[in-house]
């Protein structure tokens, strides 16, 4: 057992490397700057679902490319229930079978129900999702569904042979595969519990320089602006599955992402609520607009149990 203490050494080393990276080598544009096709969030009507329930999923999509009005195909793939090891890539074999059924022309109704198009998708949670899997020691019984999606500024099709990851690809009119600027594959997990619930966070307004935004579009000067999200404190729910070693109940961990498609922000991510230390009042970011014209601002709030909410604003940056 004495060796247990040594287990964390490699973990700490692994942790140290990103810290080193953050300080020494990170010269990339941050995720908050939208300059290509991006999926910014997927919200589930019930982040924790009950067996037999229906869950509706909605996607927040942004296209920061030069051609912002280009058509985007969105496809959803469901049906991956309780994959091996709860790992998302444990679904890929099953997804390949689903896609094969789709490619055969007229899929059977069961297969067709697993596939959706457009910014929303509904998933039926099997009633035996919890009972059909073995209970793990130290774990409240649960079930798990993975729903995959792909947003494509071209045409979706089966992934090239030998490609790792999601077995679906995005192609231009000439059949050439498109890259990450035009194609976003992803997934979201729905956990099912008998007795637990989780609500999505609540985001009120998004203040610019402390002022509420009225109307569809507001005009702002080309200068730095402080953006403030109004996140309801009730968003930080108790996490009934979590307690500190001394028995102290832990809350949810919440954080938010800032996104802009013009200019940059001083903080891409902010901690909203720490599971132990509680609420963080400092959620602001300073936005430095880019070229004058229409700009989009988004704030997306996540909790660590699959809950998501967002607020979007459009502003015109005056010359």
């Amino acid at each position: 057992m004495a060796r247990v203490a040594r287990l964390l050494a490699p973990a700490l080393a692994a942790l140290a490397l990103p810290l080193l990276a953050a300080s020494c080598g990170d010269t990339f544009a941050p995720a908050s700057e939208i300059s290509s096709l991006r999926v910014l969030a997927v919200q589930k009507s019930a982040p924790y679902a009950k067996p037999g329930a229906k869950v509706r999923m909605s996607m927040l999509l942004a296209d920061g490319s030069a051609a912002r009005t280009r058509p985007v195909e969105i496809t959803w793939l469901g049906g991956c229930v309780n994959p091996s090891g709860d790992l998302y890539y444990g679904c890929f074999q099953q997804l390949s079978a689903t896609l094969s059924g789709l490619a055969s022309g007229t899929p059977d109704p069961a297969t067709a129900k697993l596939i959706g198009r457009g910014p929303t998708f509904s998933v039926d949670v099997p009633s035996d999702i919890i009972t059909s899997r073995p209970t793990l020691e130290g774990q409240t019984p649960y079930g798990l569904i993975y729903v995959f999606f792909a947003a494509c500024a071209g045409h979706l099709g089966p992934a090239p042979a030998g490609a790792a990851g999601l077995p679906i690809g995005c192609f231009d009119d000439a059949g050439r595969p498109l890259g990450a600027d035009d194609f976003v594959p992803g997934y979201s997990a729905i956990y099912a519990y008998d007795g637990r619930t989780n609500a999505n966070p609540e985001v009120g307004d998004l203040l610019v320089d402390g002022k509420a935004m009225t109307g569809e579009v507001v005009h702002v000067p080309s200068a730095d602006h402080t953006l403030t999200p109004l996140v309801a404190r009730s968003s930080a729910e108790a996490d009934p599955g979590a307690a500190a070693p001394d028995g102290t109940p832990l809350g949810e961990q919440l954080w938010l992402d800032w996104y802009v498609d013009s200019g940059s922000v001083s903080h891409s991510l902010r901690l909203v609520n720490d599971a132990q230390k509680g609420w963080n009042d400092d959620l602001d970011t300073v936005w430095t607009p880019g070229a004058p014209g229409l700009a989009h601002l988004w704030v997306v709030v996540h909790d660590n149990r699959g809950g998501t909410a967002w607020r979007e604003r459009r502003v015109v940056v005056d010359p």
């Binding site: 990276a21 020494c24 910014l40 130290g138 070693p245």
Partner: protein, 886 residues
């Protein structure tokens, strides 16, 4: 070619006085037990009364008053050989040499010549009180060749001098601040003081005979006559016995029971550039030790995982070696006597491991019965140390120390300005307290208490872009302490016992946000070894190695990926598992090992070890055999060595845990093979070349489960193959250094298809060249250069968006299929010492990465893994330290 007998050196001036003489006593565990004197029968030397029983009369060692020149053997002259012959001299009450026995032969006629000359020595006899008594001493007779004549080799400038090293007779403790006086025939006197390493140098002297007196407080003064030959730099080693103590000391390293034991001495540890004089960092310069990636403080030995190697302090396992993953060691260098490092094929006394062993030896307190203190501060930490006799307990000595980092002083403002809320900035402590007594000349008892504590507590308000769960409150507390009793007793010439008992606590408390890992581990360890010489050339070592550890563990974490498993995505995407349990680990082990020396050239060490692990409910039997043979026994020595053995390592906690792993696992297994050669080139230069192969079997790895997923299983295999070269200049009065090179390949095969891949800690080439030279006037300069293959990493071939985390996860390419660029770095170190009447001041400047090379330490990706850049290591870092000693 002219030849001249060189000089005589008194090694241990006194020994068995009067009717007491028990034969040779090893100075430490490594000293040879051969050379002992028969006892019992009339005419033989009788076992001495123990000091406690003897009348406390002052003892005066014998003093050489008439030196006799030995004839230089013709065979040696023609071969150009030099030699040292260690003699054991029995000196009678009249000061005559009654008997001279060769203890360390040199061959080529040296032994006979030395014995013949020594039999003509005359001594002032040893005295107990005023009465002359017989005594036994060790005496080294040195033979060197005088430089050739002008016709044979014409050195244009002929200089000569005398220099040497002064050490305590008990162990390798250098006697600093001792006074050495030289008087020539005209009674002109030169006086020098020894340095921190016990070295002294009288400089250039006129050829002739000098009477040398060496004295140090608390030690018996010795006198000797030395011949300074024209054109020859004469070097001597004097060993002073503690005043009033009767003992025989035979210096020398017993050949190890292992195939390879690499020992770092204190001076080497303290002066290696780039390590800030840190004890355990110095290990990373030895062959077989890989350079740890990034700023991690890991010991990666012969292609094994860091967890496959363990560190012991005088036989007691410690869970942490470094503070904060590599900043500094948990034990200060000043307290160490040496570090023994076994990279593989270690003896049966160690078990439950497949990698290597590091055994740190704590030194004894200064035996001069005076108080000493040390204070040191550098940019990282500050430390204090004190040692001396225990007040009121004259037979006890103590050594205490403590250290505190002060990086929190400057790091807290940096973190705060970066937006983090800092509750506890990174801070570490360590502390040590040892008390030791030697109730008689052949036993010692030491009680120790030491520990370490690291902690930080910060609130990250800007979570990580690629895994936002890794933000918020980050707390880390690691620590341990040990109370230790170490007892050694050379019960007789043939029986020796060593036992260490320890009790302590390990603590690990790590948390990020709502995830945590908390472990409290109460550790009770015991190791005992009884060594019995059954017959000449046959010594049996038998021992027990017990570990009992009740523990409490609370954790809330997602299960870690299994070996060979792709990245499971951000933490936020995986449900944590809970575990809160108390249990205990019980791992008893025992071993038996024979040390067979069928001739003076050969040693064969077969052994068998048995280990039980309660957590897996199994016994493991590990037979091993190591052997050494001196192809050339005399100087220059040539030794071939080899070994083969079975090594077992129980699964790690998370692998066999019912919550996180798969119960029913058995121990990992490795077969170590090694074969090598050691060669002396000069008295100071030696080389060692060794090839090794580790056949890895039953490795815990992922294995297909019945449900179509993966569990842990014992289906992994692999191997490590390589060779190591160490070309070393052993420390002398001015210089030490070495070249270490390792060529290796570490491979794993993952189930189910046993795909072969390089192991993540594989480093093909590891080259280290270092040296340190004393310039004089207190200045010392050192340099280290390293050239190492880049670390392996798993490339990302794309990203997939995890909507619940709001972040991308990587899609892994082939595991550890890419290598970072070659690492190379030069480090320099300058030391300057000032000596004052009662104290010394030392300052050092240790500059790492002198030419500011941007070494690749990792790869960083943008948010969606479409772009990558290299993460550079630390730039040029000067570190300044200052130390005062009294």
């Amino acid at each position: 070619m002219l030849r001249a007998p060189r000089l005589a050196r008194i090694l241990a001036p006194l020994v068995c006085v009067g009717t007491l003489a028990s034969g040779a006593r090893a100075a430490d565990d490594d000293a040879p037990t051969s050379g002992a004197v028969p006892s019992g029968a009339a005419g033989a030397i009788v076992t001495p009364p123990r000091p406690a029983e003897a009348a406390p009369l002052p003892v005066t060692p014998p003093k050489l008053v008439e030196f006799a020149q030995a004839a230089y053997p013709a065979e040696a002259v023609s071969a150009g050989l030099t030699a040292d012959v260690v003699l054991q001299l029995d000196i009678d009450r009249e000061g005559r040499v009654a008997r001279a026995v060769v203890v360390t032969p040199a061959g080529h006629g040296f032994d006979e010549a030395a014995v013949e000359a020594a039999s003509r020595f005359r001594f002032e006899p040893a005295r107990r009180g005023e009465a002359p008594v017989p005594a036994r001493i060790l005496y080294r007779y040195g033979f060197t060749l005088r430089p050739a004549t002008a016709e044979e080799a014409p050195p244009p400038k002929v200089t000569q001098g005398l220099r040497g090293v002064l050490r305590a007779s008990d162990g390798e403790i250098a006697l600093a601040g001792a006074v050495v006086r030289l008087r020539d025939a005209a009674r002109r006197e030169v006086s020098v003081t020894t340095g921190a390493d016990g070295a002294w140098n009288a400089g250039d002297l006129a050829p002739g005979r000098y009477h040398v007196t060496a004295s140090a407080p608390g030690f018996t003064t010795i006198e000797s006559d030395e011949e300074v030959a024209a054109g020859a730099e004469t070097e001597v080693v004097y060993r002073l016995a503690p005043a009033g103590v009767l003992e025989v000391t035979i210096q020398g390293q017993r050949p190890p029971r292992e195939v390879t034991r690499r020992t770092l001495e204190q001076r080497e540890i303290a002066r290696i550039p780039g390590t800030n004089g840190d004890a355990l960092k110095s290990l990373q310069n030895l062959p077989g030790v890989a350079r740890p990636p990034g700023i991690a403080g890991l010991l990666i030995v012969r292609g094994s995982a860091p967890n496959d190697t363990q560190t012991f302090i005088d036989g007691t396992y410690v869970p942490l070696v470094y503070h904060f993953g590599g900043l500094s060691s948990v034990l200060p260098t000043e307290m160490l006597e040496k570090i023994d490092f076994y990279p593989g094929n270690f003896s049966a006394q160690y078990g439950r491991l497949m990698g290597g062993i590091v055994d740190v030896g704590v030194r004894s307190a200064n035996p001069d019965k005076k108080y000493h203190a040390l204070a040191q501060v550098d940019l990282i930490d500050a430390r204090l140390m004190a040692e001396g006799p225990v007040p009121g307990l004259p037979s006890w000595s103590f050594m205490v120390g403590a250290r505190r980092s002060w990086i929190d002083v400057w790091l807290k403002p940096v973190l705060t300005s970066a937006g983090a809320g800092v509750t506890t900035a990174p801070v570490y402590y360590d502390w040590q307290a040892f008390a030791e007594t030697k109730p008689n000349t052949h036993s010692s008892l030491r009680v120790g208490f030491f520990g370490s504590d690291d902690r930080l507590d910060i609130l990250i308000k800007d979570p990580a872009e690629q895994d936002p769960t890794l933000g918020g409150n980050i707390g880390l507390h690691t620590g341990f302490w040990r109370a230790q009793i170490l007892y050694r007793n050379e019960i007789s010439d043939a029986v020796r016992y060593r036992g260490v008992l320890s009790y302590g606590v390990d603590k690990l408390d790590f948390g990020i946000g709502s995830l945590y890992f908390k472990l409290t581990n109460t550790v009770m360890l015991h190791r005992s070894e009884l060594s019995t010489r059954l017959a000449p050339g046959v010594t049996l070592h038998s021992g027990v190695d017990l570990a009992f550890a009740p523990y409490d563990i609370d954790l809330r974490l997602p299960p870690p990926p299994k070996p060979g498993e792709p990245n499971p995505g951000p933490f936020a995407a995986r449900p944590p598992r809970l575990l809160s349990t108390s249990d205990h680990v019980w791992r008893p082990g025992g071993y038996i090992e024979a040390e067979l020396t069928p001739g003076e050239r050969t040693k064969i060490v077969p052994g068998l070890r048995a280990d039980y692990a309660r957590d897996i409910g199994r016994w493991d039997l590990s037979p091993r055999v190591n052997a050494r043979h001196d192809v050339a026994h005399d100087f220059p020595r040539t030794t071939v060595k080899g070994g083969v053995g079975l090594y077992h390592q129980p699964p790690a906690f998370q692998e066999s845990s019912p919550v996180f792993g798969s119960p029913g696992l058995i121990s990992n297994r490795a077969i170590h093979y090694s074969l090598g050669v050691e060669q002396d080139f000069t008295r100071h230069i030696e080389a060692s070349v060794e090839g090794f192969y580790k056949d890895l079997q039953r490795l815990v790895s992922r294995t297909p489960s019945a449900s179509g997923g993966y569990d842990y299983g014992n289906d992994g295999t692999g191997y490590v193959v390589g060779s190591e070269l160490l070309l070393k200049y052993k420390p002398d009065a001015r210089f030490f250094g070495w070249l270490a090179y390792t060529l290796s390949r570490s491979v794993r095969r993952d189930p189910p298809d046993l795909t072969t891949r390089l192991y993540q800690y594989d480093q093909t080439h590891i080259l280290t060249v270092l040296g340190s030279y004393k310039l004089g006037h207190g200045w010392e300069f050192g340099a280290r250069f390293r050239l190492v293959s880049g670390s392996l990493y798993t490339p990302s071939i794309g990203g997939i968006y995890n909507a619940d985390a709001g972040a991308y996860g990587t899609i892994d390419g082939t595991q550890f299929s890419q290598r970072l660029a070659l690492f190379h770095q030069l480090d320099l170190r300058v030391d300057k010492e000032w000596r004052f009447e009662k104290w010394r001041l030392r300052a050092y400047l240790d500059v790492q990465n002198v030419y500011n090379h941007s070494n690749a330490e990792g790869v960083s990706y943008n948010y969606n893994f479409t772009r990558q850049t290299t993460v550079s290591g630390l730039p040029i870092i000067p570190s300044l330290g200052i130390r005062g000693e009294i």
